[in-house]
Amino acid sequence: MKFISGCRAIAQGALDAGVRFYAACPNDPVSELAETMALELPKLGGKFIQMEDESAALAAAIGASSVGSKALVATSSPGFTLLQEHISYAGLNEVPVVIVNAMQYGPSTGLSSIPMQQEVFQSRFGANGDYPVAVLTPSSPKEAYDMTVYAFNLSESHRIPVVILIDQMIATMKETFDFRENPRLLTRIPPRHHFLLTGLPSDLEGFPTYDPREIKQQQQRLFQKYLSIERMYSKFELEDANVAVIAYGTTSRAARAAVKMARGKKHKAGFFKLMTLWPFPREELIRLSKKVKRMIIAETCTSEQLANIIKSCCLGECNYTLVKRFDGNLLTPKEIYDGITA
């Protein structure tokens, strides 16, 4: 049993997953993650480097990954904006890499000690072009550990960038849990020829191309790969529910407590927790919206980003109640409970 923070859990998960390269850029609230990697990587023969900015950090990670080192980068919101161009690059060039983004209050520099959930869209559509990227949303240090190991396997199997989307709360909170013993890992097959990665549209050998058929083929392959990513979610008390709460990350902790409170008062409430935010578990939510009378969408976001996606795929199927908070504080179980009973 270990009593560790989300940052330490991710660092441990990454080391257990075989990470041997970490490019850092000082950034709260993930400083502890970088500090752990700086200390632990040389002991395993791995490499740690502090780069000049987040964009350079992800560039270095892609460089390291392209020559066979599993690589991790961690940052928080403004830094995540800086490195977007290279998520697009890794997606196009099919370079496996994992990026941790600890969401904090924004816009602009914001404040790194305040958790918010304002990057539902930035994590998927932050850079130019149509590129594949998976976004995972753990809600506790234990889940962060498990999902980090899973993220590396997913990035290797699909050869895509994977974003672990946490927030300041998950990054710094501590929890007691057991590590998985010897997780199953995917290993890389070395390239058979002198490869070429390029930011341009390219054919199957990697050469830049202007041929519409080859451009279409590449775009189709990338998109099919994205669609084939498994959508993870967990259901709680949904079997007989007529009200379903939907949340992810930090907010899902309050949502679960609110559902328990509601059940205690004989309300037929259930909880749907999103663990893969992108690709969005669209089909599953459409099924759910047909089953329940009302959906409660809980998020700490001013522009209702999560609610916007859910409404766009389940339009008109049921009623919605939005429970949101954007003053820098977390949603409480009581606030979500009030939404359920409203």
């Binding site: 041997r20 964009s55 350079a56 560039a59 390029t198």
Partner: protein, 259 residues
């Protein structure tokens, strides 16, 4: 009539699967500099698997398409950040980065300064043609004062930066300059830079003969010759010193702490 024979040294380093025609304009000096780079690599007795090539965008960025080496064509200006990752992860590789002046001392400035300061064993070839050539000849940070160019229709009001001076100040341990006209000297300089253990920068001065207005490729080369003869383009080695190299230093940490 004399028949042109393919040069066996050059052929050895070219990709065979590349679809033609080549991207460069006929008479482009990037081709001459690529030839010099191949001769330089060849002189160092390196296997193709021991070299990793990184480039950026623009005309010089297309070099990895033709060279049969493991390579990355990076995002604009970030070539040295990618190269740093490659070199850190696999220090046995000889990492060469080819970038243009529009990247090296504009968007990529911080990467150039930091890589030089770290003294990581990279060989950086900056192809300096004093402009953003691919996009039409707009001014770059090396464009001379008062030059008339697109985006500077009344003359460039800014002052140029000397890439070699800048590299020396940043802490590079090997810095030199040659022009595309002096291709053989450039090849020798590149060989020296590749053999150097530490951050090395070679400025390959060139002139685009297509942008902003067309001139003959021969005139463009003669312009370089003339400028070098007058001392307006100073060629040679400006710095060649030894300093502990980054990946070597990190290996020592690994050796001392490995469990």
């Amino acid at each position: 009539m004399m028949e042109l024979q393919p040069n066996p040294v050059i052929q050895r380093y070219l990709r065979t699967g590349k679809k033609h025609p080549v991207f460069f304009c006929p008479g482009c000096q990037v081709g001459i500099i690529m030839g010099a780079l191949i001769r330089g690599i060849n002189e160092c007795n390196l296997q193709k698997d021991e070299i990793f090539l990184v480039s950026g965008v623009g005309c010089s960025g297309r070099m990895p398409v033709y060279l049969d080496l493991c390579s990355i064509q990076a995002t604009r200006g970030r070539a040295l950040a990618f190269a740093t990752g490659v070199k850190m992860a696999k220090p046995h590789l000889k990492v060469i980065a080819v970038i243009g002046d529009g990247e090296a001392v504009s968007v990529g400035t911080s990467h150039l300064v930091q890589a030089a300061r770290r003294n990581i064993d990279l060989t950086v070839v900056v192809i300096n043609n004093f402009m953003h050539a691919m996009t039409g000849g707009q001014p770059s940070p090396t464009t001379p004062h008062k030059t008339i160019a697109p985006l500077a229709p009344y003359g460039n009001v800014e002052h140029p930066l000397d890439i070699c001076d800048f590299a020396v100040c940043s802490g590079a341990t090997f810095v030199g300059r040659q022009t595309a006209y002096h291709a053989e000297n450039l090849a020798e300089l590149l060989a020296q830079a590749i053999k150097h253990n530490g951050f090395s920068l070679v400025e390959a001065t060139s002139l685009c003969h297509m942008k902003p207005e067309r001139k003959s490729p021969v005139d463009a080369l003669l312009w370089l010759k003339e400028k070098a003869a007058k001392g307006e383009i100073i060629t040679g080695i400006f710095k060649n010193t030894a300093k502990p190299e980054l990946t070597g230093e990190y290996e020592k940490i690994i050796k001392a702490n490995r469990s």
